[in-house]
């Protein structure tokens, strides 16, 4: 059981002044699964991602284990190279680079060990994997929102990460685009990539995740299968206020 855990946190905490953003959080993510992280605004989800990748902050206490190795003191670059890749809530791409060069940077610096030789075929494969059908030599700045998200994911995937951390991938997308994204993530997951997904909208998680944790005020309040978590009155209270669970 423990052997299949690829990424785990052990009582990780982080405070900003008087605010306990992450407060003794322990989760474990198993090989090959999609793990969901949910919770209302300000619950500490993105802060937890930052702590996992060391960017730009480190935990005040607690441990982060990746493949059984403590990484909470490692540099962000080391963590990235080790195979823990993340995306950001805002659809971040390198705007002054072309689509191709975005992927090239992701491949050249993100791969563990020596990067595989960069060529057209790899670029095309990466674009195909995220169903991004645009001209690879157009600047990334001009892409639509969904295509930027695709590119961001492709850019993380091109280095073949062991775990992909996705921070609110569906934010800002209309329902049709959201559907497309969920389909895409399902395909990527089917390829064997472990994923951790932050999502505010629980319905997206229930379509993707095998297990999930709900955070509120920096603490994990529930962990389990999505359908169980959604039924939990504490989750309803966390989302809709104290009166909602009545």
């Amino acid at each position: 059981m423990t052997s299949s855990v690829i990424l785990a946190t052990d009582e990780v905490s982080k405070s900003f002044g008087s605010l306990k953003a992450v407060d003794g959080v322990s989760i474990d993510v198993r090989h090959g699964e999609v793990f969901g992280l949910a919770g209302p605004n300000g619950a500490g989800k993105s802060t937890l991602f930052n702590l996992l990748t060391g960017l730009p902050i480190r935990p005040d206490s607690g441990r982060v284990l990746f493949n059984g190795v403590e990484i909470q003191r490692r540099s962000p670059r080391w963590i990235a190279k080790a195979g823990l890749k993340r995306t950001f809530q805002t659809e971040a791409v390198f705007e002054s680079l072309t689509v191709r060069d975005n992927l090239r940077v992701g491949s050249a610096y993100g791969s563990p060990g020596r990067p595989a030789r960069w060529n057209n075929a790899r670029c095309e494969a990466a674009l195909a994997a995220v169903e991004l059908g645009c001209d690879p030599d157009r600047p990334a700045a001009g892409l639509s929102l969904l295509d930027r998200k695709r590119l961001m994911i492709a850019c993380a995937m091109v280095s073949e990460p062991a775990v992909l951390l996705l921070d609110e991938p569906a934010a800002g997308l209309d329902p049709a685009d959201q559907e497309a994204l969920i389909r895409l993530l399902t395909t990527i997951h089917a390829g064997g990539t472990t994923m951790v997904i932050i999502e505010h909208v629980l319905s997206v998680l229930s379509a993707l995740a095998s297990r999930m944790a709900v955070l509120d005020s920096g603490r994990v309040i529930v962990t389990g299968r999505p359908q169980d978590v959604l039924a939990d009155p504490r989750v309803v209270e966390a989302y809709l206020g104290p009166g909602a669970a009545r």
Binding site: T98, N119, N120, D135, P136, D137
Partner: protein, 434 residues
């Protein structure tokens, strides 16, 4: 080298930028070369009548007022020559290059500009760089170069092999006298009872440049030789010195009989004096060169009284010396003041000297002939009688050649107090010592 082959779709920018670049370069260069060719037609064909005389002068920067003087002197001489119908069928035109703060860079650019220009037959200057490195450049380019300042450097360069520099002559003499005269005069005044030294101590301020350093070294040697004590020395960086406060503090604690500041820049010397006068010691103050410039007096006015200074190259202000009196009149007519700029006197003399040589030799392209003629000449210029020393190419120094003139400001006037041959007044105790 080509961009990576995979980058098939975006190969345009380099090609286009390159085209644009080449177009721009060719267009612009053709414009520039046509402009330079227009100047060359003016002189090159059939011994055309207008010759250019190059002038290296610091027109901007801290020595700008010297530069202005150099320009005025050369312009006055050229105007007089042209008005008199020119020399050997040629008239002159001045081609001035700004050497800014005398930086090697600016001087180099100026030298390149002048040596590249065929029409420039001779180059004059008061001083250009601080090391006179440009002498080698002009010698290599076989251009006539008449120089004034930094004679220690000129001597150092030329005396190794005078034959290599047939076209370079300095109308200013050796500066050795700068390093001895103030000491000798002080002793003389003490002997005459005009002044009573308390303990025969001197404080010397020098600036980090060859001119100031060599004079300061000479003074230290002379003071020591004459039984004085050096109470202290202070070196300041070359360039603007704004706050003399700490130097003053050291001077006050040394309380010397005689203070010499060899930083020749007029602004530095004026601020030195102003700050000294805030809380003066009972010392004579000698300032190297700077007070010769009219600007020193403009800035200081009454505060200048009592300051001692000297000059090896300026106009000899003696009523009985005709070339100097004539220049003074002409200067007043041209520029409205009879305070002839010392650097102006130098460039004026240089242009006149060249004109005289050209008149004798005839062909402006016979640079070697003109150089040789100048080297053997013996003329009365406004700065004194100019005869060249063949070992150093410097003008000879002495009361009968180019005299070292010592001055003191008295009652808001510049009074010549030595040598006796020309002097118009005698040394007085400065007001702060009374």
């Amino acid at each position: 080298m080509a961009p990576s082959p995979s980058a098939s779709g975006r190969t345009r920018p380099p090609a286009r930028t390159l085209t644009a670049l080449v177009l721009a370069a060719v267009g612009a260069l053709s414009a520039c070369s046509s402009s330079s060719s227009t100047t060359s037609t003016a002189g090159a064909e059939g011994g055309g009548k207008v010759l250019e005389i190059g002038l290296l002068a610091p027109l901007t920067g801290p020595s700008a007022s010297d530069g202005l003087g150099m320009k005025q002197g050369a312009e006055l001489a050229i105007k007089q020559i042209n008005d008199a119908g020119g020399v050997a069928g040629h008239t002159f035109k001045l081609n001035t290059v700004d050497v800014q703060g005398q930086s090697n860079d600016a001087v180099t650019k100026g030298v390149q500009t002048l040596t590249d220009n065929e029409n420039v037959k001779a180059v004059v200057t008061g001083y250009a760089s601080t090391s006179n490195f440009e002498i080698d450049e002009f010698a290599a380019a076989e251009k006539l170069y008449l120089i004034g300042g930094n004679t220690a450097q000129t001597q150092g360069i030329i005396q190794k092999n005078p034959a290599k520099y047939p076209t370079v002559w300095s109308i200013t003499p050796n500066y050795d006298a700068y390093g001895t005269e103030p000491v000798d005069l002080a002793d003389k005044w003490a002997a005459e009872g005009l002044w009573k030294p308390r303990n025969k101590t001197a404080f010397i301020v020098r600036s980090d440049n060859p001119y100031s350093e060599s004079i300061a070294d000479g003074l230290v040697k002379q003071f020591t030789a004459k039984g004085w004590k050096i109470a202290g020395q202070e070196k300041v960086p070359f360039g603007p010195v704004n706050d003399w406060g700490t130097v003053m503090a050291k001077i006050r604690s040394a309380d010397p009989d005689f203070i010499v500041n060899t930083d020749y820049q007029v602004a530095n010397e004026a601020s030195f004096m102003q700050q000294f006068l805030q809380n003066p010691t009972k010392s004579l103050v000698f300032l190297q060169y700077g007070p010769n410039q009219p600007q020193f007096f403009e800035l200081m006015k009454k505060q200048a009284d009592g300051v001692l200074f000297n000059n090896l190259a300026g106009l000899v202000p003696a009523e009985n010396y005709e070339p100097a009196m004539k220049l003074q009149q002409d200067w007043k007519a041209a520029y409205g003041t009879d305070a002839v700029d010392p650097q102006g006197a130098v460039t004026y003399a240089e242009v006149k000297l060249y004109a005289e040589a050209l008149a004798k030799v005839g062909d402006p392209d016979d640079v070697a002939g003109i150089g040789a003629y100048i080297g053997k000449s013996d003329t009365q210029q406004a700065t004194g009688r100019v005869v060249f020393d063949q070992a150093t190419h410097l003008a000879k120094q002495g009361d009968d050649f180019v005299p070292l003139q010592s001055f003191q400001f008295q009652d808001q006037k510049k009074v010549l107090i030595a040598p006796d041959k020309y002097k118009s007044g005698t040394f007085r105790l400065p007001p702060w010592m009374k």
